[in-house]
């Protein structure tokens, strides 16, 4: 059979995510950001809310998220996305407002904005991609860099005594009354991606119900920053990141699990 006989619309079982643009991703091959983008856009598409969705992009690797996500987006200053999203949501309470942030953005420079937006229970979604490193600037130590983990600013490994322990910001904000839903997921396998998508869907559904803040952490790899091959980085992530940042729902329906 000729290949052209097979490539027909009725035979199609999978297609590019509709709400992703045709712009080539700026992420390194093997990085989890692309999947996290796809899942977020799939949820918005499947819920039929694209006309009412406003995204806020961070500073970091995903600063150009607006080049890839085919929705209205505002790019925020480093760490300030939750403040930007707060105002958009307050001024447009009927809209679906979300931020997409990395660990440096959300858990270091933007800690105050993150905690206070969460504490006020802003009716927004925060998608937090945690790869334990500053990818964009070339692999510096992040608040979530693991103990002993090497980076360009912890070349001998993160030392707890002088650099502090990796920050479990997700557990921290889960304790705030304004936060309704917290889940930590991964996207490196199909199984994990399906679970992550379910969590993202739940988060966006919560906006419709005006339940307060929903927070989805995605523990991801940074093969370039970690200086590993993609597969190797995923194995390393499972063996080292997951024990410190365990996957699963942390808070559901406003109750800690």
């Amino acid at each position: 059979m000729d290949i052209l006989d097979i490539i027909k619309p009725e035979n199609q079982v999978f297609c590019k995510t509709k709400l992703m643009t045709d712009t080539g991703l700026s992420y390194c091959p093997g990085c989890g950001h692309g999947t996290a983008h796809n899942l977020t856009m799939e949820v918005i598409d499947e819920m039929g809310i694209v006309e009412d969705t406003i995204g806020v992009a961070p500073v970091g690797c995903s600063v150009l998220a607006y080049d890839f996500m085919n929705i209205d987006m505002t790019q925020a200053a480093h760490g300030r996305a939750p403040a930007v999203a707060t105002a958009i949501s307050r001024c447009w309470p009927e809209k679906y407002v979300f931020t997409y942030q990395g660990d440096g953005d959300l858990a270091a420079i933007g800690t105050a904005e993150t905690i206070h937006a969460c504490n006020r229970g802003e009716n927004i979604v925060i998608i937090f991609v945690n790869n334990g490193i500053y990818g964009m600037t070339g692999g510096q130590m992040a608040p979530t860099t693991l103990e002993g983990m090497k980076s360009s600013t912890s070349p001998y490994g993160r030392e707890i005594e002088t650099m502090g322990a990796p920050l479990k910001i997700t557990e921290l904000i889960a304790n705030l009354p304004g936060v309704y839903f917290v889940s930590r997921q991964a996207v490196h396998t199909h199984k994990h991606a399906r679970k992550a998508k379910k969590a993202i869907r739940q988060a966006f559904e919560n906006i419709k119900l005006k339940k307060g803040l929903s927070f989805v952490e995605i523990v991801s790899n940074c093969n370039s920053g970690w200086k590993m091959a993609p597969n190797e980085s995923n194995v390393w992530m499972e063996e080292n990141m997951f024990p410190y940042f365990p996957l699963g729902d942390i808070k559901v329906d406003g109750k800690l699990k």
């Binding site: 600063v63 930007v84 105002a87 447009w92």
Partner: protein
């Protein structure tokens, strides 16, 4: 029908913000501007007009909330005082870069550092020479009365939306705190969602409905694009200079000497002009109402008429540099100012004029 009230400058500004149909205010307490957010919280504009008011966790958060609301085409304001404005400069630079309309109010206090809570004009450089990073300018309005604290709010929003650019109202602790009678305009309707989308839908991130997506960003990684963006900003500033310069001339027609002063310094200098004229010295006052654009041409022309110019400021000599640049050294230009929160008296100003200019 305008309503006559006795109010503090900060309160008049807050009330005028509600009445001009603003959509949102985000702020953080700092003396001497705290009455703005206190007044708004007390008035509950959410009930009056649907205007959103929120106390942010910091000035940084507040200015970024302004950025968020502005990116969706809303009429949004924040206010602070000097140390707080320093924190907001990051966001102000982003607002300028992303070409967003917003109104920022600085009720200036003495600095540097934590300084003092008393009035000052020491933030002139910060306001008109950039302040934040990058090639940008702010349209700067300098009120000299409680009435202007009220009137300039709507003017500021009009300019912000005309140019899609942040506008600064540069007040000070004196104008913010003093009480005067003020005529307040009638309540204007806030823009409906439909009106907003019709007017600003071409750029605002209101949700991708019936059009291509809108993106608000100040980032251009390609140098050619970034240069084009900066050129676009500069064109706006040139247009502001042509179309929206504001200043006031008081008793300049026959003046032999000139005082240049803005804001509260202009109020006090006006009395100094009167005292001088009682002594037979013909002094005029030029009051810049916009500090950018600056009244360069009017000053350049007056320099052919007067024998000398005194720049009176509540600082150690900042605007005086712009006066000198404007008159291109045609006549002597000197500075007189008090600082640290001390306010000059009309007598001190006259004495400085006599000693530094008339001699």
């Amino acid at each position: 029908m305008a309503e006559l009230k006795l109010m503090k400058g900060n309160e008049a500004l807050a009330e005028a913000t509600i009445r001009c149909g603003a959509d949102a205010y985000f702020g953080y307490p700092i003396t001497p501007q705290t009455e703005v957010i206190e007044y708004l919280m007390m008035e509950q504009p959410e009930k009056r007009t649907g205007m959103v008011v929120l106390q942010a966790e910091s000035e940084l958060a507040a200015i970024n909330m302004v950025y968020g609301a502005a990116s969706t085409g809303k009429r949004v304001m924040t206010s602070s005082s000097s140390p707080g404005i320093s924190l907001k400069l990051e966001g102000i630079s982003y607002l300028a870069g992303a070409e967003l309309p917003a109104v920022i109010v600085n009720v200036v206090r003495g600095g540097p550092g934590l300084g003092t809570i008393q009035p000052s004009q020491a933030d002139y450089f910060q306001s008109v020479k950039g302040g934040g990073h990058g090639d940008y300018k702010l349209y700067v309005l300098a009120p000299a009365s409680v009435q202007e604290m009220a009137d300039f709010v709507e003017d500021a929003f009009d300019i912000a939306f005309k140019y899609r650019a942040p506008v600064l109202i540069l007040s000070d602790g004196l104008i913010g705190q003093m009480m005067e009678k003020v005529y307040l305009k009638d309540q204007k309707e806030r823009m409906t969602t439909e009106e907003l989308i019709e007017k600003y839908g071409s750029w605002a991130t209101t949700g991708k409905k019936g059009r291509e997506r809108n993106i608000i960003t100040s980032l251009d990684l390609q140098s050619e694009k970034m240069e084009a963006r900066v050129h676009r900003l500069m064109k706006k500033y040139e247009q502001m200079e042509k179309e929206d310069l504001r200043y006031e001339k008081i008793l300049c027609d026959d003046a032999d000497y000139l005082i240049v002063a803005y804001g509260s310094s202009a109020r006090i200098s006006q009395k100094a002009v009167e005292l001088a004229r009682e002594k037979g010295i013909k002094v005029g006052l030029l009051r810049p109402i916009t500090l950018f654009p600056y009244p360069k041409q009017p000053l350049f022309e007056l320099a052919d008429q007067v024998k000398g110019i005194l720049s009176v400021e509540l600082n150690m000599g900042q605007m005086v540099e712009d006066v000198r640049l404007s008159v291109e050294f045609k006549v002597p230009v000197e500075h007189f100012g008090r600082t640290g929160g001390i306010i000059h008296t009309p007598e001190e100003i006259l004495e400085a004029l006599e000693q530094k200019i008339i001699k």
